[in-house]
């Protein structure tokens, strides 16, 4: 390609991300940006903190410092004043309950009105609990305005446009391939409880369209005609591809692949590299890759970042990184002084 994807606007910006587990600093103030439509890789020796960093980006674990901004919105940071939020859930109900209790004691209200107030208290409690669980966007924004912040959870990141695969395949083993993809499409479908009960034409059409799209996705990753096979019966390489198809089903803008070539034979690896390039070139996806297989990393990455002991020790094009003495030292040990 003539233009350099690294010059594109960043889709994700991680600033000063740290995560410690007790005394261990797994990730130490890492700055990391991913330009749109780029393929960037994160490498490092075992225990360098790659997966921890990955899990922070995905909302699986909270960072102890720093923040992650995805498409202009702060999604992930250290939680702030979360305790107050739980107070907010119960406070209105408790206040109303106390108030109605006092009113009843004082004899201002009685009989049916007390029952009504009690019912309202209960509904208020249920309502605020539901709100806290469903967490619509307006609710989070309102909380943020008063200084309460909670990181996005994994499913929020998917809704925002981040897809992922797992280091050790985590398919829904007892479902068929196509069902796996349909589950991945969850955020794209909107059939609700009532529509499911009534089987409205809209929800039927939606399901039909979803199945067609799932078929297309399976074809895209090279699993054409294997839709009705059980996920656990697929060969290893196909399972990895199915995981990618499932991630794609949510229409992500950014795809995070955690060691996608792990355990693959050279032929499967080659196919995978072709698939990743296709995802970027044809679907316009941005891709972050964690990988041990240097053939994969050096072959397709626009940029490579190296982590060691939780710190970023090098960043640049594959050629630059390959020659970097600190990288060589991290992988092979320091030369004898």
């Amino acid at each position: 390609m003539s233009e350099n994807p690294l010059d594109n606007e960043p889709i994700l910006v991680a600033e000063g991300v740290s995560r410690r587990f007790g005394g261990l600093v797994a990730v130490n103030t890492v700055d990391f940006t991913i330009p749109e439509r780029a393929i960037v890789s994160l490498i490092g020796p075992n225990g360098a903190g790659k997966t921890t960093f990955f899990n922070v980006l995905l909302g699986v674990i909270d960072p102890t410092a720093g923040s992650v901004v995805f498409r202009g919105r702060r999604m992930i940071a250290r939680p702030e004043r979360v305790g107050f939020e739980s107070l907010l859930w119960v406070l209105p109900a408790v206040l109303l309950g106390l108030l109605s209790g006092l009113l009843a004691e004082a004899g201002i209200v009685s009989g049916r009105l007390v029952a009504l107030l009690g019912f309202l208290t209960l509904m208020l409690l249920v309502g605020s609990l539901l709100l806290a669980i469903i967490r619509p966007v307006w609710y989070s924004t309102a909380l943020e305005r008063i200084g309460i912040f909670r990181s996005a959870r994994p499913n929020d990141m998917v809704t925002a446009g981040v897809g992922r695969t797992f280091q050790n395949i985590r398919l829904f083993q007892n479902m068929t391939a196509i069902e796996n993809v349909l589950v991945g499409m969850h955020t794209q479908l909107h059939g609700n409880l009532l529509e499911a009960f009534l089987q409205t034409p809209r929800v039927k059409a939606e399901e039909k369209a979803a199945e067609r799209r799932a078929d297309d996705l399976l074809t895209l990753v090279g699993l054409h005609g294997k839709g009705n096979e059980g996920a656990r019966n697929l060969p290893y390489g196909d399972q990895r591809r199915l995981e990618i198809a499932r991630a794609l089903a949510a229409n992500p803008k950014l795809l995070l692949l955690d060691e996608p070539a792990a355990g693959m034979n050279p032929k499967e690896t080659l196919d995978l590299v072709a698939l990743i390039s296709k995802l970027r070139d044809d679907l316009g996806l941005t891709i972050l890759l964690i990988e041990h297989d240097m053939k994969v990393v050096m072959g397709i990455s626009d940029r490579v970042t190296v982590l060691d002991h939780g710190e970023k020790i090098a960043e640049g094009t594959p050629e630059q990184v390959r020659k970097d003495p600190r990288v060589i030292e991290a992988y092979l040990g320091a030369p004898a002084a």
Partner: protein, 403 residues
């Protein structure tokens, strides 16, 4: 599996075709299925071997009671079998449904609400309230399902089971001790029986109206349950049961989805509670002990987790054995005065038999009598390839440990 492989006859293929047709026309197949069962049962109850010990009407009454447990099993199957949430306090929602009906349909309940309804109108009119109350009972039970589920559904497996167990104990005890609003140990009596415009109020002597309404309720609940499980929400529940982290990574809000399953399961128990209360015409705390929760769970496991027809059959079989067959056995051995056996009270042995049946099931057919195909795959692969599955579990725990 082996049976199908050993006799690849037209029977197997016909069965497969039947399964295909029924999954394509799900709702119709449920209506037809329930209609067939609903016709066969009265016929059985009216022919000789069955009429000897028990008259037909008593059988019909028993079938209707069994229907209450079929409803409960369908609801619990949604929670345990489909979404994989172990709920040991399911009877609590059954109780909440029953008490909800008692407030509207009994003189005592009316006095608590501060209304005069049952005393004023005739039973033929008062009983009409039963039909909307089925829905109201479902809603109230769902509300309490949400109240219990919201703080606890972040818990995993065993912890959730313990919390629900606690809730299942708390609810009857509250109904027992809150004398002022529940009439304590005595319970609430004198509930209005259901009524329909032309036939008027149902009566204790005629089991048929109850029986037919039960069939209709079971058919509707089963139809809705199937529609739900085959929708996007049902897929989300299955995904959560298989792998919660992967489900979240697929964009499913796992807490909301689990809460929904929990609330819907509770609402089914609410419906069963309203029906049961209207049939017994009285509710009291001792109807909702842990034994009920346990029995329904046993029905779900025995029938085949995840398969609504399976758990319905499981519920029917267990209920009939418990409440009819054991009695008949007692009578039979008394009559023929068989040496040792005539001194045994089979009803007292109920839980021993239960235990034996469950142990036997778990050893030989862990997926239940009529398993969900997916469950069967899961259990049988787990048995043939233990190595692989242990590995998956170990990885799952290590990744979950990071959370």
């Amino acid at each position: 599996m082996s049976a199908a492989a050993a006799s690849p006859t037209s029977f197997a293929s016909r069965r497969k075709r039947l399964a295909e047709v029924s999954s394509r026309h799900r709702s119709w197949s449920i209506v037809v299925g329930i209609a067939i069962v609903g016709t066969v049962l009265p016929i059985l109850a009216a022919i000789p071997p069955f009429t000897l010990a028990t008259p037909t009407n008593a059988w019909m009454d028993g079938f209707t009671n069994a229907g209450v447990f079929v409803l409960l099993a369908i609801g619990l199957n949604l929670v345990v079998g489909v979404a994989g949430l172990l709920d040991l306090g399911y009877a609590a929602f059954f109780a909440i449904g029953a008490y909800t009906y008692s407030y509207v349909a009994s003189p005592f309940g009316n006095s608590i609400l501060g209304i005069k309804f049952v005393e004023v109108v005739s039973p033929d009119i008062a009983g009409l309230v039963f039909w909307p109350m089925l829905l109201v009972g479902a809603l109230v039970a769902a509300l309490f399902g949400i109240l219990l589920g919201a703080p606890t559904l972040r818990l995993r497996g065993d912890y959730l089971a313990i919390v629900t167990l606690g809730f299942g104990e708390i609810v009857p005890i509250v109904f027992l001790n809150a004398d002022a609003v529940t009439n304590g140990t005595n319970g609430v009596g004198g509930l209005a029986r259901p009524a329909l415009p032309i036939i008027g109020s149902f009566s204790a002597l005629n089991p048929w109206p109850y029986y037919v309404s039960m069939l209709v309720v079971v058919a509707v609940v089963m139809m809705l349950a199937y529609r739900l499980v085959e929708s996007r929400l049902g897929r989300a529940w299955e995904a959560i049961r298989e792998d919660e982290l992967a489900a979240a990574a697929s964009g499913i809000n796992t807490v909301t989805a689990k809460l929904l399953a929990f609330a819907l399961g509770a609402s089914t128990a609410g419906i069963a509670g309203v029906f049961n209360a209207s049939k017994l015409v009285t509710v009291s705390p001792d109807q909702f002990t842990f034994i009920v929760s346990f029995t329904v769970l046993a029905m779900v496991v025995l029938g085949g987790m995840g398969n609504f027809w399976g758990v319905a059959v499981g519920a029917f079989v267990i209920y009939t054995i418990n409440n009819v067959l054991l009695k008949v056995l007692n009578q039979f051995f008394d009559q023929v005065s068989f040496p040792i056996l005539k001194d045994i009270d089979f009803i007292q042995l109920q839980f021993l038999l239960y235990g034996l049946a469950l142990v036997a099931m778990m050893l030989w057919r862990p997926e239940g009598l009529f398993p969900n195909s997916r469950r069967q795959r899961e259990l049988h692969t787990a048995m043939t390839e233990p190595g692989e599955d242990e590995l998956v579990t170990a990885e799952a725990t290590s990744e979950e440990g990071q959370r």
